[in-house]
């Protein structure tokens, strides 16, 4: 795990950079006008976004992706930290053993 | 010693011990009644019961008092060290599970015989309209709840933080039972009762019971072995 330490760090920095500014942009969505019933049986694709639809959903979308990035980054980081600690304990135990 | 005989002996022992002091019985029944009363104060508005809360309150009272009864039943075993004695006995472990299950079921039946009329009274819930179906739902639900509860109660008897861990572990797994019980009972209590829906929920409860009792019988031995 030592030799991939720098790769972990780069990955972590990159993830945080991606998540940081978009998290800043998240605001409460305004209540949209009543819309047709959301699709239940299948998703129907269309090509162009009708005007006036862009903004209200964007903060929610951005917040959702930010949450995913942060959660993944946080979890990977926590595993990395714990591995670090265990490796240190292992080295400590190894150092003490030959003496006894 | 054959399976049925072991079950009978342990159930008889538990019933005799309980009948002498009736400690768990009285305290659990009283707790269930207090539960219902607390909800009565919480959910009654201007002297009228709110909506159809009867079904929900009934099942919550069953769940809470069931958790209490399970905790107490195994605490008693642990204190007298009889749990270790039981586990050391050269008998089929699953037989011990079934015996404990029957014991707690007997206790819960006694509790429900008090709680059901009480809820019908306090919340003016027509619980006796479709009595066989209601009894079926109660039986199916209580068996499901107790099957999982006995398994976890036995598992946790020797663990640390067992008092708080039992509800923490038990409630997520038995939520399907509570949902099925409440929705089924609601279907019977509503202004236009729908026995077909209640029957459907009953079948869910029954399949839950079969699956989890089987699982418990399979895993009881390896989990309780050190």
């Amino acid at each position: 795990m030592r030799r991939v330490g720098s790769v972990w760090r780069v990955l972590l920095v990159w993830l945080l950079l991606a998540a940081g500014p978009v998290w800043h942009a998240a605001v409460d969505a305004q209540q949209p006008p009543p819309r047709p019933k959301p699709a239940e049986d299948e998703f129907v694709p269309i090509d162009q976004l009708p005007p006036g639809e862009q903004l209200p959903a964007a903060p929610l979308l951005i917040a959702a992706y930010a949450v995913v990035w942060l959660a993944v980054a946080g979890y990977l980081f926590s595993i990395w930290r714990r591995l670090d600690r265990v490796d240190r304990d292992l080295a400590e135990a190894g150092r003490r053993l030959p003496r006894t | 010693m054959n399976f049925v005989r072991v079950v009978w002996l342990v159930v008889r022992k538990d019933l005799l011990v309980e009948l002498r002091s009736r400690e768990i019985l009285y305290t659990t029944v009283f707790f269930a009644v207090s539960c219902v009363l607390v909800f009565a104060f919480g959910f009654v508005r201007e002297g009228q019961p709110m909506g159809d809360v009867g079904a929900g309150i009934l099942w919550i009272a069953v769940a809470f008092s069931g958790t209490l009864a399970l905790g107490r039943a195994f605490e008693r075993e642990r204190q007298s060290e009889t749990l270790r004695a039981l586990l050391m006995a050269p008998v089929d472990r699953p037989a011990l599970y079934v015996a404990k299950l029957i014991g707690v079921m007997a206790l819960m039946t006694a509790v429900e015989m008090v709680v059901v009329p009480l809820v019908a009274l306090l919340f003016q819930a027509p619980l006796f309209r479709h009595l066989p179906m209601l009894l079926g739902l109660l039986l199916g639900g209580t068996v499901g709840f107790t099957a999982v509860g006995t398994m976890f109660g036995a598992m946790l008897a020797r663990a640390r933080s067992r008092d708080v861990l039992l509800p923490v572990l038990l409630y997520p797994i038995t939520i399907p039972v509570i949902i099925a019980g409440v929705r089924g009972t609601s279907a019977l209590l509503q202004a236009d009762p729908d026995p077909a829906i209640a029957r459907a929920w009953l079948s869910l409860l029954l399949s839950f019971d079969v699956v989890f009792i089987t699982l418990a019988l399979w895993t009881f031995e390896p989990v309780m072995t050190d």
């Binding site: 049986d41 299948e42 129907v44 862009q54 979308l61 | 572990l169 797994i173 989990v223």
Partner: protein
């Protein structure tokens, strides 16, 4: 196995870097429009959660049947995956629902029981942490029971009419959406493999440290 870790890490990082591009280019859905794009991360999160739950249950069965410590390492890894990715699903879901349904949460059966399964694995981790010695076996029992609950979730979705998009949505996806969706699923699955490798290694190292410290005491 060690040697595959680094290339896999690069592949996963690249896929996650490319995914937003694919998602931005995927066609919009006609009724839910922009916010539906949460789908591309929401559903794969749940896929990983359920994979984690089944991994935990399977490993728990092996652990109880054979007493294999290695199986226990996989069990705790599965539970942690279920909790982390389940949490992501539980947060992205309401963010989508707020726009699509107008409410943050619905007590619809799929949501409720998904929450219940997540709670079960949180309880698993709590038991392992606070249950004292010997709690690995007890937790294995909880893991198995928790996973056995899952079919009741899936079964209930098709039984009641609910507001949640039915599970039939995925097979009917159009070509623009289908490719993006399965790409994201693959990215999440590879990420899961990566996490399993790292986490199981952590458990193994911990077990070795415990053994060594026990030896030291002799």
């Amino acid at each position: 196995m060690q040697r595959l870790f680094l290339p896999l890490l690069v592949v996963v990082a690249a896929m996650f870097a490319y995914a937003p591009l694919m998602i931005a280019n995927a066609p919009f859905e006609s009724t839910m429009l922009l916010v539906q794009k949460i789908f591309y991360f929401h559903v794969p999160s749940w896929f990983v959660m359920f994979s984690g739950a089944f991994l935990c249950a399977g490993a728990s069965v092996v652990y109880l049947a054979r007493g294999s410590k290695e199986a226990d390492h996989y069990a705790v890894t599965g539970a942690e995956l279920a909790v982390v990715f389940g949490l992501m699903g539980l947060i992205t879901g309401p963010l989508w629902a707020r726009k699509a349904w107008g409410v943050w949460w619905e007590w619809d059966v799929k949501l409720t029981l998904a929450l219940v399964v997540w709670l079960t694995f949180v309880a698993y981790l709590l038991l392992r942490r606070y249950g004292g010695p010997g709690s690995e076996k007890l937790a294995a029992g909880v893991g198995i029971f928790g996973a056995a609950n899952i079919p009741f979730v899936y079964y209930s979705v098709n039984w009641w009419r609910t507001i949640h998009p039915k599970t039939t949505v995925v097979p009917t996806l159009g070509p623009g959406m289908r490719g993006t969706f399965w790409f994201c699923v693959l990215a999440f699955m590879l990420l899961m493999v990566l996490i399993i490798a790292a986490r199981v290694r952590l458990e193994r190292q911990r077990a070795r440290v415990d053994e060594l410290f026990l030896e030291l005491e002799d």
